[in-house]
Amino acid sequence: MSIMTSRVAETLGEVATDGALRAARGLSGLVGEEIRIDVPQIRVGTNIDACDAVGGPDVIVFGAYIGITGDITGHVMLLFPQERAMECIDLMCGQPVGTSTEPDDFAASAIGELANIVGSAFVNALADRAGLILHPSPPTVLNDMAIALVESVYAAILAQGGEVVMIDTVFSDEKGTTSGLLIVAPDAEAFARIAELAA
């Protein structure tokens, strides 16, 4: 029996939409031009689903991880396959999508900063919606095998059932569009609090 009902998914979708608006404001301010962030799809699945969603187990991804502590605990991770990450850097640098091709240290840190903005915005939106005090951890910049990252989050949440929420996150400006995957893994108590909100 899944602890993730469609109502809970719907509530998380609303939180994600609010988070995306906040993140877009922050990001647009940072890069000095209008960037939109949309969250067209939210779904629930296992660690394997999450890996497949970013391109398969042997894929190397860029992104950042933020741990949540406070009234509830959980995990937030924004991942981009390399090609999408490069497109995202183009958006952030105000250059046509397809300009950046080299996944260097600059790329890793830029994507880490982006993922931090989006992940923190989601955590703050969740805190406001649920009336909780949540503390996002300092972000860990990620550039690693997708499955190693997803599996490690999975191991940490397993005692609580092991489902993760996957939120497609689409970034766009007038020059182009790209997308990443926001993975949210709340613990059981967090799911219960969100379920109360959804009821």
Binding site: D58, M145, L149, E151
Partner: protein, 168 residues
């Protein structure tokens, strides 16, 4: 770099799974070990090898922990040795190598859960109780690893996102 025969069949060993083989045309692979630990064991006389992809240091009491052969360390080590023995391996001859147990979400975050670190501690202790000492390891750190056991040669290779496969 070891050359893999073009005909080699790669068997993916998923989270919580075990694979054993005596088929020289097979390569057992555990992709992207983060906090998980891959236990590779090979009997060079019987030419039998196995790979366990262990997720957790202790059973969390879930259905999966009961159902899956290597969900937690005790089951993983016990079942790997049982399956290898069933295929003709002698536990006393096993060449055991470990990889994984990293803190891929960052050291500070890993300190909260210590899953990778505890996986390594528990697995090492379980092997010690069976008089098995790993002869090579690639453990800890902050990067994910892929481990593969080549049945043709008994060689174990490890690679990360940033570095090519090297023999362990």
């Amino acid at each position: 770099m070891t050359t893999v025969p073009a005909t080699a069949r790669r068997i993916s060993v998923g989270i919580g799974q075990i694979a054993v083989s005596n088929n020289a045309a097979e390569v057992l692979v555990a992709y992207g070990l983060g906090s998980c630990v891959g236990v590779s064991a090979y009997d060079p006389v019987a030419h039998v090898g196995g790979l366990a992809h262990i997720l957790l240091p202790e059973s969390n009491g879930s259905a999966a922990a009961t159902r899956e052969p290597a969900w937690h360390a005790a089951a993983g080590v016990t079942n790997l040795l049982r399956d290898l023995t069933a295929l003709g391996a002698n536990p006393r001859r096993l060449v055991v190598k470990l990889a994984g147990g990293a803190a891929v979400l960052g050291e500070a975050n890993a300190a909260k859960f210590r899953i990778g670190e505890r996986n390594v501690e528990v697995i090492t202790e379980l092997l010690k109780q069976r008089n098995i000492r790993p002869c090579a390891t690639a453990l800890g750190g902050v990067k994910g690893r892929t481990i593969e056991l080549h049945l043709a040669s008994g060689k174990t290779l490890v690679r990360t996102a940033a570095s090519p496969a090297t023999e362990l």
